[in-house]
Each structure stands twice: as C-alpha cells, then as structure tokens.
Symmetry: C2
Subunit: 206 residues, 2 copies
DNA sequence: TCCTTATGTGTACAATGCTCACATTGATCC
DNA sequence: GGATCAATGTGAGCATTGTACACATAAGGA
C-alpha cells in the first residue's frame, strides 16, 4: 500500500506537505488579506509567505518578484470587479436600469475594497510589469467591456461605434472619478448619503 | 570678525554649512525628483537625504516619519495643482470657456505629473497621516474650490447652492476619472488624440 | 559669555526584497 | 520497482531601508 512511514499529504489538515498544492493562489489571498488589514496598497512579501506557512523564497517559484505578485492580485481584483459589474447590471430589467446598476456596482466595489481598487488602478498595474502581463490586461479590458456592452444596449448601437465608445468613456470616467473621490474621503464633508449621491450623479448622465 | 578658521555658510556654493537653510523644502524637492525618475509613487528616504547631502536622520528633525514627508509632497502637489487649474481657467473669456479651461488643465496636470498626481490622491494622503495634516487638507480643498467657483460663475448661482455642489461633483468626478484612465494607459487603444478626447468628454457635460 | 534650542551626525537594529546553493517531492521512463 | 529529472521548497546571506538613541555642532538671546 501507499501508506509509508512518512506523512501523506492528507495525514494532517495543517498542510504539512512539502508541496503546497496551490501556493500561487494562497499567496495572492494572503497578500490581499494583509492589504485589507493594513488599509494601504502595500504589504510584506515575507509576511505573506509566513502566513501561508512557507519560506519567502518559495514565492519566487511562482512570481518573478514582488511586483509580479501585485500584478496577480490586481488581475484577481479585476476579475471580481467584472463580476460585480455584471451582478449590478443583472438587478435591472430595462437597459437603462441595467446600466445604472453597473454604475452603482462600480462605486460600491471601490468603497467595499478600497485597497484592492487602489492597487488595481495603481502605478504597479500601470507600469511595465502590468502592461506586459497578459492576464492583467485581459482582466482589465473585460471590465470595460461590461460597461461598453451595457451602454451599447442602452443606446441601441453597435458596441464599437464611436458614439458608444465616447459615451462609455464618459460613463467610465464618471464612475471612476466618483469612486476615487469617495475613497479619498474628499466628499466626507458633504451631507449626502453616498448611495444617494451615486444615483444623483450617475443618473443625470443617462 | 566673524571669519573664523572654520568655513562660513557662504564660503562654498556646495552647501558645506552645518545648517542647511531649508532642509524641509530640499527634501520635498529631492523626493519629488526621485519619484519622477522612478515613475512610481515610492522613493527612498535615505536616497533623498543623500541627494540633499545630509544624513537620513537629519530629515527626522523636519518630518516625523516617511509618511509625513509624503504628505508634505502631496500638499505641495495640491498647491501646484490649484495654480494649474487657475491658470487653465484664465485662458478663457466666457464663464463656460473658463470652466472648460480648468477641466483641460486638470487632465493635463495629471498627465504631466503622473507620480505626483497618484501620490496626491493615493492611500497615504487618504490615510490617517493625511487626514490629520492641516496643510494637506487645506491645499486639497483649495483645489476643489477653484472648480466650484468656476461652476458657480457659469451657473450664475451661489457656490454653496446644492445645484452647484452636485454639478461640481460631477465635473470633478469626470475630470478625475478621465485623468486616471489616461494615466493607467487604459485608453491607449483608442485612436484618439488625448487633448481632443478631453474636450469631447468634458464639453459634452457643460 | 553662557545657556538653550534647533539642527545635524554616528551607530545600531530589525525588517525587507532578492540571490545563490542545496534539499525534497512527485511524476515519468526503463 | 528503481533511476531520472523538472517542479517546488529550504537555508544562509547580502544590500538597503525606516527608525531610534545618544551625542555634536550651530545660532541666537540673556
């Protein structure tokens, strides 16, 4: 039988096995957790590895360097983001409501995941490391496509038409800017409910 | 006489004097330079001090820690930003043109100073260190006031009226979002001239 | 002139990102 | 089965960083 004297992978729940199984994913999750706890966009590679129960150097088998890990986190963020946008759109029945739903979801996502949102649109993602990462680029453009197709449906025009492109850009910029301003607390002095604010600002546009 | 054997402050142009004169300012400038060279939002406190020709610890006489330096840089950024917005407004004659001028200046500033812009609206400024810094808060709200007063003039209403507040918010969000999208290179695939894009997106709103 | 405060230096420490050499694992081929 | 080998992990070590503490020097008023 295969039950040798040495411990098998399933002998212990505390992951005593040499090979982790999916270190890459575990590191992304751990780093994300650290960011949430800190509130900022930065984290310690060593600390993340420590949490996973692995040496720092093990992470270098899955990521070329720390920036690469951050890019992976950003990509994961964009995937969740796209999903959130689609879920938001699904709440509406008319094309207009679906569009508004995405807009609300956009801002809500930013407010719910400030660190992740900042990382996704931060300098690392925009830098060389991010632009050369196919996974990130793909996940990023997928998010825009959700908005774009929503607008195309609303405007009843092909998604690639110039009118839709510019309109999508406007809508995107609006949601994006509003998200950031809320994150920065720069709207804290306004006596308005954030959710109401979203509707007021966004709905005036469409 | 005051000419002792030791070197006087003015004996040498290379700043041999013990007391630097304005280390605080010099450190801000050096750090800003480093950020520009790196392209990112981060820099090394030690490297900045090195450039100024001073020990790292000297900087702790002027800033409680590195975050404090970053906050000071952000504040300086907001001051330049306000000036840029005012300059942009000054190019127009009508209220509408002045408003558009600010909008263009907003986006142009972001594109011209990506690192600084990111720092200004980054997590450090939004965090505790930033919110508790009077200088930053003041400089930040001054920038918004430029937009607000411009809109108030255009709408011919008092700056504090609800209509102006919401409109300013929309305009701000639009410019802010557009700036970020451009910085992130997320609009690079569009076959549009950025400057034309600005006008197209902004002018449709007012 | 002395004393005080502001400003700077020197030494030191823990933490971090990263590199290189080595160890272990698990699948594949004979 | 056992040998082979790439994938995956460990360990020691290095330069750099942010920060703290004790001390040195400068500048200016009593």
């Amino acid at each position: 039988m295969s039950t040798s004297g040495k411990s098998k992978p399933s002998d212990n729940q505390k992951d005593p096995r040499y090979h982790h199984g999916n270190l890459r994913r575990a590191l992304v999750d751990a780093a994300l957790g650290l960011m949430v706890e800190t509130g900022g966009t930065s984290f310690s590679l060593r600390e993340a590895a420590r949490r996973v129960g692995v040496t720092v150097n093990a992470s270098y088998r899955h990521f070329r360097n720390k920036d690469a890990l951050m890019v992976a986190i950003a990509a994961e963020g964009f995937r969740r983001f796209s999903q959130a946008l689609m879920d938001g759109a699904a709440t509406g029945s008319s094309a207009r409501d679906r569009l508004l739903g995405s807009g609300r979801a956009y801002v809500r996502f930013a407010r719910a995941n400030p660190s992740l949102f900042r990382l996704m649109f931060g300098s690392v993602s925009a830098g060389d490391a991010g632009r050369e990462d196919e996974e990130l680029v793909l996940a990023g453009s997928a998010a825009l496509d959700v908005l774009k197709s929503g607008l195309a449906a609303f405007m009843n025009k092909p998604p690639e038409s110039p009118a839709v492109t510019v309109a999508a850009l406007r809508a995107w910029a609006l949601a994006h800017g509003l998200s950031y301003l809320l994150l920065d607390g720069q709207l804290a002095h306004l006596p308005l409910d954030p959710d109401a604010l979203i509707d007021q600002v966004i709905s005036a546009d469409v």
